[in-house]
């Protein structure tokens, strides 16, 4: 036990002290902070209202309605929201083309901000009938700008068409106001969970992604660490006083502990950043609401237990496989090739969740939950999406644990022979021989 502890401690210590660990650990929160602050910087850069000219060549109220619709549009919510457009309407019945030609030279000027126009919206009768409305501007490449403009124009156009058919304008405005918004709440086991539909989806996806990345990254770290000991030729010194089990378990647990520490630091800093979002926004003289919230949906204790249990077993299972791959190879290139088989297993589990998100209780989901290599990712995701009978969770967990024992047995045998084997990579037949006799 003392020896196992020494191996774990060495693995943990050298990893935590390595430059790679320090850099990637620090980089995480910096990146998150950047993601939070970036929208502020972006929005403050073009928080200026866009100057749009409505060239009004249409009969009736279409031009005026467009002018009103645009000027009522606000950026953000609440009292502090600023107008999105500064609108100028030029009546141009019969001379639309001429007005347009005269204004184009003023549009999209980079230097002359005083006379600069951002865009020309052209209101014509044919536009009302066909629904094709022309817009000329320098921001036509921005999908979000165009969507906003389309939405405003759509509403105004609808109102105009109805009015032209003689519908009461008050009635039209009433009917057109507001859009349908689904307010979703998740129900599980006959109880409201307090999660919205979006956050439950996000949670499932985020969990799958974290599991996927963690299994891959730390699994491959185990592999390269085994390889390092082999190519360093230190293995034999260790093998004379440590059992292969102590070597392998110490390595896997050591790397696992480093992984937990790193994930912990990342999650912790994400929570810290979110809870101080208002203060961070204040640094940039922006209202508190303008900061992107880190999505941290509430996680039920049951889900947390399922997540951690499957994560732990899954990590040991894949780390064992990667350790075995490391033990049977001599160079990193060789190992990368050989580890593809393992990586495909993790990737299959991860990509299956896109189908699970649609049908978390389908036959694919049920079958994958009973395969030890897929269950560690599939089960927590299913559990977060839908209600699953306890026995199904227990069965899936039991099979995964059995799988872990199987993998540990096989990997241990490959490891025992492989760590002292230099030269040619073993063929499948030789590998089988190692496992049988190891």
């Amino acid at each position: 036990m003392h020896k196992l502890w020494a191996v774990i401690r060495r693995e943990f210590q050298t990893r935590v002290q390595s430059k790679a660990f320090v850099i990637s650990t620090i980089l995480g929160p910096i990146l998150m902070g950047f993601l939070m602050v970036m929208p502020i910087l972006m929005s403050s850069r073009d928080s200026e209202a866009k100057r749009v000219v409505v060239i009004d060549g249409a009969g009736g109220n279409f031009g005026q309605a467009l002018e009103r619709g645009l000027s009522e549009s606000r950026r953000g919510n609440g009292a502090e929201a600023k107008p999105r457009y500064e609108v100028i309407r030029i009546p141009a019945q019969g001379r639309v083309q001429a007005v347009q030609d005269s204004l184009v030279p003023l549009t999209g000027l980079a230097r002359d901000t005083v006379h600069r126009l951002d865009g020309l919206l052209i209101a014509t009768d044919s536009g009302v009938e066909t629904g094709v409305v022309k817009y000329l501007g320098d921001n036509v490449g921005s999908p979000s700008d165009m969507t906003t403009l389309e939405n405003i124009t759509q509403g105004v156009l609808l109102t105009e068409r109805l009015q032209r058919r003689g519908v009461d304008p008050v009635l039209v405005r009433e009917a057109a106001s507001g859009r349908v918004q689904l307010e979703t709440s998740k129900v599980s086991e006959g109880r409201l969970t307090g999660e919205s539909g979006a956050s439950s989806f996000l949670l499932a996806y985020a969990m799958a992604f974290i599991l996927y990345l963690a299994l891959l990254i730390y699994g491959i770290q185990v592999m390269s660490s085994v390889l390092e000991e082999k190519s360093n030729r230190i293995m034999e010194v260790l093998a004379s006083s440590l059992t292969p089990f102590q070597l392998m378990a110490g390595k896997v647990v050591g790397v696992g502990a480093v992984g937990l520490l790193q994930l912990g630091i990342w999650v912790g800093s994400a929570m810290l950043l979110t809870s101080n979002a208002a203060a961070i926004a204040g640094l940039f003289h922006m209202p508190p609401g303008s900061v992107t919230q880190m999505p941290l949906p509430s996680i039920s204790p049951a889900l947390l237990i399922v997540f951690l249990a499957f994560f732990t077993v899954g990590f040991f299972l894949f780390a064992g496989l990667y350790a075995a791959v490391g033990a049977m190879c001599n160079t990193m290139q060789e190992a990368q090739q050989a580890s593809t088989a393992v990586t495909v297993l993790v990737a299959t589990a991860f990509f299956s969740i896109f189908s699970l998100l649609n049908d978390p209780n389908g036959s694919l989901a049920r079958v994958f939950s009973l395969i030890p290599f897929f269950a560690p990712i599939v089960m927590p995701v299913r559990f977060s999406l839908t209600s699953i009978p306890l026995y199904e969770v227990a069965l899936s967990f039991a099979i995964t644990v059995l799988g872990l024992f199987g993998v540990a047995w096989i990997a241990g045998r490959i490891y025992r022979v492989g760590i002292l084997m230099y030269g040619k990579k073993p063929s499948l037949k030789e590998l089988f021989h190692w496992i049988r006799t190891g």
Binding site: A6, R10, I234, M235, E236, V237, S240, S241, L420
Partner: protein, 319 residues
């Protein structure tokens, strides 16, 4: 002979088709220096690995100490320096030694303290907190050596310990090995350089192609071969003049001719005086004529023939 600290009983190990070690029996008595000799590919490393239980013999038994546990179980009492030795490049020297001590069951604090004493003794104290990768190859080898001895093992097993060392460092390590043996502990080391073993060992075993050729105490072995060897040193050109006489099979049965010196084995019934007379009569210029104990190397070659000094090609390929 005192109670053996290590016994091998008809140990055999095969690797995919070829036999690396065949029915090898050895007894290493407690105390002193034991040399395991043999040419490259003879099975020395395999034998030592089996003693350490890193690989398991296919047949036969390895009995260490009182025989209750196997090699790894006694790792607290054994220091093992394998031929394939390495260190973690990114670790500090003292941390590394502390870790090696811990793998031998030492407390970390004690291991660090011991490590510092050894580093001081081998002239590496300035490097205590440096990373292993900053050390020269010779210094790394010293660190590995310290790692082997840190826990004061009763039995020290070294696989080719002096290979790749310069004479100065080699001497430092020899002194340590001799001192360990003087303190009543046991050192077993393997080497393919016979002269080295000849100078240091109390007992030896020679193996070739996985089989034991010879074992016993060095003095007994040499006595067994009697004083039938003569070392010759020639003055300028003497070697050529002597060649005809050394070909005379009634006088000389074997010649190890090195040009200006030669070691010859007298033919059965021949006397050293007759050889000297023949040489003097032929006018050979001599600077040395000495009846000597046979060298280990000449015993080895006499015993197994020069062919066995190299492994069989097909076997070497597998190994």
């Amino acid at each position: 002979m005192s109670e053996p600290i290590l016994k091998l009983e008809r140990v055999t190990k095969r690797f995919s088709g070829h036999v690396a070690v065949r029915e090898l029996s050895l007894e290493v008595p407690s105390g002193g220096i034991f040399g395991l000799l043999g040419p490259n590919g003879a099975g020395k490393t395999t034998t030592l690995r089996m003693i350490m239980n890193i690989i398991v013999p296919d047949e036969g038994k390895v009995i260490l100490f009182d025989g209750r546990k196997t090699g790894r179980g006694y790792s607290e009492q054994i220091g093992f320096l394998p031929e394939e030795r390495g260190l973690y490049k990114k670790m500090k020297v003292v941390d590394h030694l502390a870790f090696l001590g811990e793998t031998k069951g030492m407390k970390r604090k004690v291991a660090i303290q011991k490590a510092k004493q050894w580093l001081e003794r081998l002239g590496l104290h300035d490097w205590t907190s440096k990373k292993v990768e900053d050390l020269s190859k010779g210094m790394q080898q010293k660190v590995q050596f310290i790692g082997t001895l840190l826990h004061d093992p009763q039995l020290v097993i070294l696989d080719e310990p002096f290979s790749g060392l310069d004479p100065v460092n080699s001497q430092v390590m020899k002194d340590v090995v001799v001192e360990i043996a003087r303190s009543g502990r046991t050192v077993m080391f393997s080497t393919h350089i016979m002269e080295q073993a000849e100078k240091m060992c109390d007992r030896i075993a020679i193996i070739a192609r996985g089989e034991k050729v010879l074992d016993g105490s060095l003095t007994e072995i040499k006595r067994g071969y009697g004083k039938r060897n003569v070392a010759l040193g020639f003055s300028n050109g003497g070697g050529r003049a002597a060649a005809a006489i050394l070909q005379d099979r009634t006088l000389v049965s074997k010649v190890d001719d090195s040009g200006s010196t030669a070691e010859v084995e007298l033919a059965p019934g021949a006397e050293a005086g007759r050889l000297l007379k023949a040489l003097v009569d032929a006018g050979v210029g001599l600077v040395r004529f000495e009846v000597v104990e046979p060298s280990l190397e000449s015993i080895f070659i006499a015993k197994v023939g020069a062919a066995a000094a190299t492994p069989i090609a097909s076997e070497a390929h597998h190994a």
